[in-house]
């Protein structure tokens, strides 16, 4: 899946879960400080992303996903591995 597709999919999830404007979802943005997604909502984002992209994102790995770009790369890699 291309970076653009994953980014668009994440933006969709962030809008659904946390009301984030899709235009604000760019790779350099941090989930917590820039997009105001708290740790509980981040869990929802992860579960929705697992379903949408058919990947597994273990809880320990979630902590390493600080920015949208981190998540996009992780999902792309996990998708290839699967």
């Amino acid at each position: 899946m291309s970076q653009t597709d994953v980014l668009a999919g994440l933006a969709e999830i962030l809008e659904e879960v946390a009301g984030v404007d899709p235009a604000a979802v760019t790779p350099e943005k941090t989930f917590i400080d820039d997009l105001d997604v708290d740790s509980l909502s981040m869990v929802e984002v992860v579960v929705a992303a697992e379903e949408k992209f058919g990947v597994k994102i273990p809880d320990d790995d979630v902590k390493t996903l600080k920015t949208v770009g981190d998540a996009v790369s992780y999902i792309q890699r996990a998708g290839v591995a699967a």
Partner: protein, 409 residues
């Protein structure tokens, strides 16, 4: 040196009920004698023996993202807190002197039930991470505290159907004792679901008038056969009198007493002589030296159960003596149904407005007063009252008794 306790005033009101989405429409509905009880149209209705309830008239006006992290009890607490806060003129208060006291009888039971369904059907990974904050019984109080930035303590009394009144009683003490200047206080409940209905029905507590929803809730009437489950929330802004006067706030009424007692008799049945409930009433009167003859109005707990309404009549006689004859008694649950932990808060709002407008809304569906009810129950037509004091009673499973006394001066 002792300082006399501070007086407490009501400066803001909020409500969402089966009669309306705010205070104005709820009060208008009560004065018009409307019923909020309907036949439920849901896919689970045939799984339970009771098919009627009193749902909210207006869904809480919240955004989708805001609403999805909040249980329905929290949504209702939030919208009524916003209404009451705005009604009070959004007081500027030191956050450390602002407290919250909001009760709920059952807490986030709709979330608990729906997420348990998710767990069973889809597994643990699909359970929302918001489930615990949504189902915890202090959740509504916390929601209001976060909304207003209250740092003076957020409290959540739980005493079944007395929760809302107990929360307001606690708020009264917080201000009176000088621990807070402003308290946002009330109750909220949302439990219209098969499990609570089945449970109350098994207790033989609910009316079975499935074919006649609007006549099912009939407190004090000979033919009453149980309460009607309702949902909603009520909220008040209480302030220390000097604080409210210093900022030029509009004052609806004084909260001039609050009493809490317990029956120690049975987990669900009221103590039949009314002695426990009477102690709560007497305590409310004694807080600021009211006498029984001051009481011009009582908003009774009166849920429409056969034994509860009689016990309350006896309790009022024990507490007020012959002066009970001067009190115009009403049972607004005849219109709203029984809002459980929100009932006392909504009824506190109605009691304050009755004092302000000097009118008591008539009890709906009171065709023939039960012979064992020896009270002047307002029926058929609303009744004008003079200035004075008014009581609001609430009693809850567990033997909780609570009473608030409001005055015009």
């Amino acid at each position: 040196m002792t300082r006399s306790p501070r007086r407490v005033v009501v400066t803001g009101l909020g409500a969402t009920t089966p009669l309306g989405g705010d205070v104005a429409s709820t009060w208008e509905g009560m004065l018009a004698g409307r019923s909020g009880v309907v036949r439920l149209e849901t896919d689970w209705i045939d799984t339970v023996p009771v098919h009627i309830a009193a749902p909210l008239a207006v869904e809480p006006p919240l955004g989708r993202v805001e609403a999805r992290k909040l249980d329905r009890t929290q949504q209702m607490a939030l919208v009524t807190a916003r209404e009451a806060w705005a009604d009070a003129g959004s007081p500027e208060v030191d956050p450390l002197r602002l407290a919250v006291s909001v009760g709920s009888g059952i807490g986030g039971v709709l979330t608990l039930l729906s997420q348990y369904d998710v767990l069973k059907a889809q597994g643990a990974r699909k359970v929302t991470p918001h489930v615990v904050p949504m189902l915890m019984p202090n959740g509504p109080a916390a929601t209001v505290g976060l909304e207003l930035g209250a740092k003076g303590g957020v409290r959540a009394p739980v005493s079944a159907c007395a929760s809302g009144t107990e929360a307001i009683a606690l708020a009264y003490e917080l201000i009176r004792s000088g621990r807070a200047d402003v308290v946002v206080t009330g109750g909220t409940e949302a439990a219209i679901a098969p499990l609570p209905i089945a449970g109350f029905a098994q207790m033989q507590a609910l009316s079975r008038r499935n074919d006649s929803p609007t006549t099912a809730s009939r407190p004090f009437d000979k033919a009453r056969d149980g309460f009607v489950l309702g949902e909603g929330a009520g909220m008040l802004v209480l302030e220390a009198e000097e604080f409210a006067r210093a900022r030029g706030a509009r004052i609806y009424a004084y909260l001039s007493g609050a009493g809490i007692s317990s029956d120690a008799y049975h987990v669900a049945a009221p103590e039949p002589t009314g002695a426990g409930a009477a102690r709560a009433v007497v305590e409310a009167l004694e807080c600021e030296g009211l006498s029984p003859s001051d009481i011009v109005h009582v908003n009774a707990h009166a849920t429409s159960t056969p034994v509860g309404d009689i016990a309350e009549s006896k309790a009022l006689h024990l507490a007020l003596g012959p002066a009970v004859a001067n009190a115009a008694v009403t049972a607004t649950k005849s219109m709203t149904g029984h809002l459980l932990g929100a009932a006392g808060a909504v009824e506190a709002v109605a009691t304050v407005l009755a004092l302000r407008d000097r009118i008591v809304p008539a009890t709906r569906n009171l065709d023939a007063l039960d012979d064992e009810i020896e009270l002047d129950v307002v029926a058929m037509e609303n009744r004008a009252i003079g200035s004075g004091a008014a009581l609001s009673n609430s009693f809850g499973f567990g033997g909780h008794d609570a009473c608030l006394a409001f005055t015009t001066s």
